[in-house]
């Protein structure tokens, strides 16, 4: 049976991981290529890079990072952040990424999903969704609304409707980030994750709120997620990928245990 995927997420700014990452031996490592290698060797099933470089001129630094990562690790990895056109997608894919993810650019211009799917195949196109819980209304019947700018701008779009539409026009996967849960380390947003996952046919990666291995077990089982994104809980050495997987295996959740 298909294993549930555990996916570390790295924020990269101008070619360096933003916070630097403190492993158990207390070494700060800011090189995304080196970190990708460590997670690859530690049993990550996939890696997500999120480019938060502010200026467009410095985007080529990310392309260089992608190329070096592709020479170093031999598992799939995706790149998001700042991708606005099919040409942006092409540059990242040719540099060696398996997938590209689009978030606010797709909200503003859904055509980028269909164009990307047509040019490279749906399996390359991940829809990133930032979502906040709101009061249910005729406009937002699910009670979950799409937001951008880190949650500051409400788009008036229902999260479930957007997920379904994105799938219909060619998204191959959804990375679902709950802004409410993000950074809390109190666990993923289970209701939201189950709602989206059970109503689309494409895989859903849950994101936001992971603090301990139990949270992953919850979102993979009750949340019906196909994969779980993790960040600080591994970046600061609190847990290793291997410890998380052992816990999940003990819970009877199928994970890749040999690498």
């Amino acid at each position: 049976m298909l294993s549930k995927r555990i996916i570390p997420c790295l924020d990269v700014r101008e070619g360096r991981t933003t916070k630097g990452i403190k492993f158990k031996d207390n070494v700060d490592i800011g090189d995304p290529v080196e970190m990708a290698r460590m997670y690859y060797e530690a049993g990550a099933d996939e890696i997500v890079f999120y480019d938060i470089t502010a200026s467009h001129e410095k985007r080529n630094i990310m392309i260089d990072v992608v190329r070096r990562v592709a020479e170093t690790i031999f598992i799939p990895f995706s790149v998001g952040g700042g991708i606005r056109t099919v040409e942006d997608m092409r540059a990242v894919l040719l540099a060696g990424a398996e997938k590209i993810s689009v978030n606010s650019a797709a909200v503003k211009n859904p055509g980028i999903i269909s164009e990307g799917a047509k040019a490279f195949g749906s399996q390359c196109v991940v829809l990133g969704m930032d979502v906040k819980q709101v009061e249910k209304s005729t406009k937002i019947p699910s009670g979950y609304e799409i937001v951008i700018n880190g949650g500051r701008t409400y788009m008036g779009i229902d999260a479930l409707e957007w997920a379904t539409e994105a799938q219909n026009i060619g998204a191959g996967e959804i990375c679902l980030n709950s802004i409410d849960a993000d950074g809390t380390r109190d666990g993923y947003e289970l209701t939201l994750t189950a709602l989206i996952s059970q109503n689309v046919d494409i895989p859903v990666i849950a994101s936001g709120g992971a603090g301990k291995p139990e949270h992953l077990a919850d979102v993979l089982r009750q949340g019906k997620a196909d994969a779980a994104l993790i960040a600080s809980m591994v970046h600061y050495g609190t847990y290793t990928v291997s410890e998380i997987k052992s816990h999940l295996e003990g819970e009877g959740i199928s994970v890749r245990s040999s690498w």
């Binding site: 294993s3 690859y40 020479e71 031999f74 799939p76 196909d226």
Partner: protein, 210 residues
């Protein structure tokens, strides 16, 4: 020299990177001369069967691949490459290369997980393979090893002897097929970490005994 068949100007760099990483020389090419002179070829796949076959024919690569196979040189198919070495693909109802007898079929839409919930298509992520027939290219693969898959179709060879390994996704499907000097995987060895690299290395050193 190992030739990696380039027929769609797609993203084939990952196979080349993995092969180079293992210390073998390779070339991503659609040059018929270079393909015929290669010591062995890798035939990856991108996109849908219909457009892939169209591109192959346009460059004359369909004949070149058959020639290399018939010359007894080692051939490795990957993903869509594996699907279009069958006689026919149900994707776009496409007549294919016919190196293997049998069809490429779509996953049934009613597949279920053990708890009864519907399984998603494409089959995307890591899964195990169950070896049905020992093969030198799979020499280092253990029971617990997993490989990375992304596909909605799979090869269904007519001859059960051609099924080298199977994978379980509610149904059992052929995830590695082969006979004589050809072997083909439905998964992506170049994206499957250590066991994938081991498989690629074995292929690059494989001397078929036919």
């Amino acid at each position: 020299m190992i030739a990696i068949i380039d027929y769609n100007a797609g993203n084939l760099t990952s196979v080349a990177r993995a092969v180079s990483h293992l210390g073998f020389q390779c070339l991503v090419t659609n040059d018929l001369e270079k393909i015929r002179n290669a010591e062995r070829i890798i035939f990856p796949g991108v996109g849908a069967a219909g457009s892939a076959m169209e591109s192959l024919k346009q460059f004359g690569l369909d004949t070149a691949i058959r020639d290399v196979f018939e010359a007894g040189k080692p051939v490795l198919g990957i993903c869509v490459g594996t699907q279009i070495i069958m006689a026919h693909s149900d994707e776009n109802d496409t007549p294919c290369l016919g190196i293997f007898k049998g069809k490429t079929r779509a996953f049934p839409t009613d597949i279920r997980s053990e708890d009864g919930s519907p399984l998603k298509i494409p089959h995307m992520g890591w899964n195990r393979i169950h070896i049905r027939k020992a093969h030198p290219v799979l020499a280092d693969v253990g029971d617990a090893d997993e490989f990375y898959f992304v596909h909605g179709f799979f090869p269904a060879p007519e001859d059960a002897e051609h099924v080298i390994a199977e994978t379980d996704y509610d149904i059992h499907f052929a995830s590695v097929i082969g006979f004589e000097n050809i072997i083909a995987t439905q998964f992506h060895p170049e994206k499957s970490g250590r066991p994938g690299l081991a498989l690629l290395k074995n292929f690059c050193e494989w001397e078929p005994a036919c």
